[in-house]
């Protein structure tokens, strides 16, 4: 396997792995927190509990019914830099980092969290596993106009802007494309992309990025590769889920590499971050 190039100035601002669990209705207990802390203390020494509100809205013949609100305890574990966060709720495990150093480095963290979850929480299985990569691609100068991106991004990504030719008198106010690809019955990939301004991810909430980009124009490239079942619920097997993550990860880099040009690689991604 040829190691993939890790860009010095990679545009990735968030990587998340979420394992969605069958909703047991059971809370996160103190003993769960203790057990998870013991097993994850070497990578995630800081913990806090959050009270998460769940709101259910139903529809009756007269329209929306009054929402029912339930409190849900969520455990959040972070590293000392707060760049790696694990969030444990009764129905999901989320591992997210703003300091992604490649799949080879992220995968073992996922495995460790999954093993700890198996030992402590003993989930009955899993309903969905997803890997998400969110990129804020920024140019060293410009980016506020579509023309600025020409030469840096695959023209396919800029195609929606071409519609303004037909919209006489209207200026392009940006776009946000959502495309879904299907690998098989259960593996799908959703790609969201489009120009943005400021930050796509709040850089002041954990996971914190190693450095905060100056707010300005960027191009969002958000890949969500996920497996989902609506029939059989597999056993919660950390090795099996890690292998599944390998498969989910497989198309991600190729998609990104197809989206950007060598010019972006040379002029932006391979440069030392400023």
């Amino acid at each position: 396997v040829v190691p993939q190039e890790v860009y010095l100035n990679a545009p990735i601002v968030l990587t998340a792995c979420e394992v969605r669990l069958p909703p047991s209705g059971l809370p996160v207990l103190d003993e769960h927190i203790t057990g998870l802390r013991e097993r994850l203390d070497d990578v995630l020494p800081v913990f806090r509990t959050l009270s998460n509100q769940q709101v259910s809205v139903g529809f009756g013949p007269a329209g929306p019914e009054p929402p029912s609100v339930t409190q849900q305890r969520v455990l959040q574990l972070t590293d000392r830099a707060q760049s790696l966060v694990v969030q444990v709720a009764p129905d999901s495990l989320v591992i997210k980092t703003a300091a992604y150093k490649g799949w080879e480095a992220f995968r073992p963290v996922i495995g460790q969290v999954l093993r700890a979850a198996r030992d402590v929480l003993g989930p009955d299985g899993y309903l969905r596993v997803g890997l998400r990569y969110i990129d804020e691609i920024r140019l060293s100068a410009g980016g506020g106009n579509v023309e600025d991106w020409a030469g840096y991004l695959n023209p396919i990504l800029l195609a929606p802007d071409g519609l303004r030719v037909a919209a006489e008198g209207l200026a392009s106010g940006g776009w946000h494309v959502v495309t879904r690809f299907t690998a098989n019955d259960q593996h799908d990939l959703v790609l969201r992309y489009g120009p943005g301004e400021g930050h796509a991810i709040n850089p002041k909430e954990p996971p914190l990025p190693p450095r905060i980009a100056s707010p300005g124009p960027f191009f969002l490239f958000d890949i969500d590769s996920f497996w989902e079942t609506d029939t059989e619920i597999p056993e919660f097997d950390p090795d099996g889920i890690s292998s599944l993550c390998d498969r989910l990860h497989q198309p991600i880099r190729a998609l990104f590499d197809y989206a950007v040009t060598d010019r972006l690689r040379d002029e932006v991604l391979r440069r030392e971050p400023t």
Binding site: V55, P61, A62, P67, R132, W175, E228
Partner: protein, 215 residues
């Protein structure tokens, strides 16, 4: 042509709603702030959706009844009145619904001419009866339903609402668009609670109903 059917679950991306961009379609969950925003947005959307669907339904309903009423308006008036009567209405109730006297109704039945306005009103009443009968399965006897009070006291009936030109309330209540009688009466007359009778029926010590002044 490809049919795009996206699973509901898949609309919740991995890790929930991570993106804060305004241009991003609203997505899922994770942090409390995002959750609050999600549900505030969901609440607003459902409210707007409910408002839109209700308005849309009312517009379609009005068009349906307008069309029926126009057709009945072109028919001979005695026939229209007989059709209304066939639903089980008394002539007195029909007169009340149309806002005319019983003798005036009798003249029309005998072929005397009515004003265009009264012909229109008769056609519209028949249209409303048809609409309710055909579209609201729980109303199997529309004439009796028109005479059933919404609440025991004050005994305001759908016929009262209709006679007072509140066809909209009659239809909303009939179709359960507004299933709460008190809410219908609030829209009809916000002071309706003050118009209750000074007397009430209670069960006395001997087990029989009796009337007493309200405390």
């Amino acid at each position: 042509m490809t049919e795009h059917v996206w699973k509901t679950e898949s609309s919740r991306p991995t890790g929930g709603q991570l993106i804060t961009m305004e241009t991003a379609p609203t997505q899922t969950r994770t942090d409390l702030t995002e959750l609050r925003e999600d549900f505030a947005s969901l609440r607003d959307q459902t409210r707007l959706l409910h408002h839109d669907t209700t308005n849309g339904h009312q517009r379609v309903r009005r068009a349906d009844i307008d069309q029926r009423a126009a057709e009945h308006g072109r028919r001979p008036l005695p026939e229209v009145l007989e059709d209304i009567s066939a639903y089980g209405f008394s002539w007195r109730e029909i007169a009340r619904a149309l806002g005319v006297s019983v003798p005036a109704l009798r003249k029309w039945r005998l072929g005397e001419p009515a004003t265009p306005k009264n012909r229109t009103r008769a056609g519209r009443l028949l249209a409303v009866c048809e609409y309710l009968t055909q579209n609201v399965p729980i109303i199997d006897d529309v004439a009796s339903w028109f005479e059933l009070p919404l609440v025991p006291d004050p005994a305001v009936t759908p016929l009262d609402l209709y006679a007072d030109d509140r066809e909209d309330l009659v239809l909303d209540y009939g179709e359960q668009q507004e299933p709460d009688p008190a809410a219908v009466l609030d829209r009809y007359d916000p002071d309706w609670r003050d118009r209750r009778s000074n007397f009430e029926v209670i069960v006395a010590d001997d087990g029989l109903p009796t009337i007493q002044r309200r405390p």
